[in-house]
């Protein structure tokens, strides 16, 4: 085995992240909704929640039939938005929705926090702006990774970001 192979094996042993580990499943209910899934909501109150959210969003992108690059885009955007809500918004929730137009399907992330709101949205969407950890690419970067992006913020009342990516066709 190469040194790198050994390293991977060692890491897999230590963290239980071996390839044989079954994909973590979260609750999902198909039901009477024409094959579409009902939205599912996840708390964003701790660092562990950030990981859970990433898993859930990844699984949802796979079920939505996204290619590997689109999966990565959406999971990365979810990570940015969830981290924003956790660090700046004092925690919140992330909801995964499954929008379907007449001729397309996609995935929508709704991230709500109960934080102080964003005083200057224009600036917050500009690259390089940050008030916390990261590079200040959180909001602006996430916007570039998604097809549709809306921010609703009220000072003192929290922020809601709605971001949608449509399955490429």
């Amino acid at each position: 085995m190469t040194p790198i192979g050994e390293l991977h094996a060692a890491m897999a042993d230590l963290t239980g992240d071996g390839p044989e580990k079954p994909e973590k499943r979260e609750k999902s209910e198909a039901g009477v909704t024409g094959g579409r899934e009902a939205p599912s909501m996840y708390p964003v109150e701790s660092e562990e929640d950030l990981l859970t959210v990433r898993h859930a969003v990844r699984a949802a992108t796979i079920r939505a039939g996204f290619g590997i690059v689109d999966q990565t885009r959406v999971v990365t955007a979810a990570s940015e938005l969830a981290r924003n809500a956790y660090i700046h918004g004092g925690g919140g929730t992330l909801t995964i929705e499954h929008p379907a137009g007449p001729d397309r399907t996609g995935l929508r992330l709704v991230v709500r926090d109960k934080g102080p709101g964003i005083a200057d949205l224009e600036t917050a969407l500009t690259d390089g702006y940050t008030t916390g950890a990261g590079l200040g690419h959180g909001l602006g970067g996430a916007r570039r990774l998604m097809d549709e992006f809306e921010v609703d913020t009220t000072e003192g009342r929290g922020t809601t970001v709605v971001a949608t990516r449509w399955a490429s066709r």
């Binding site: 390293l7 590997i68 990565t72 990365t76 940015e80 950890a133 990261g134 959180g138």
Partner: protein, 136 residues
Amino acid sequence: MTVPASTGVPILRLGDVLVTGLLNELDDKTAVAFADELTERISSDGARGVLIDISRLEIIDSYVARMLMELTTMSRLLGARVIVAGMQPPVAITLVELGLQLTGVETALNAEQGLTALGWHRSPQAPEGVLRDAHR
């Protein structure tokens, strides 16, 4: 506290090069502890090079990107050259679209090429000793 908390991320030593890798399940606390542990090891082992294998990272968000850039800067200050190896194509595309350049971070296609660039060559005698797991 003087001893950084162990992160469970192994750091192997190959000659004067440290080899480590990041896993997908990296949370923020572990990332910080890992940076502490790695810089500590560079200093105590007198490492001249660090190879960080990221082929298992399924996403890099701005937090992880910042960590990689900071690790590079810190290591350079301690006299070690860092190479980040094995970024997956979807991760590279997403990073670019996110607007992140990983400024100053050297990259390599895979761990082998990264090690070669760091001047590490498979020594013909007694590779077992070199490959001893130096994880604490």
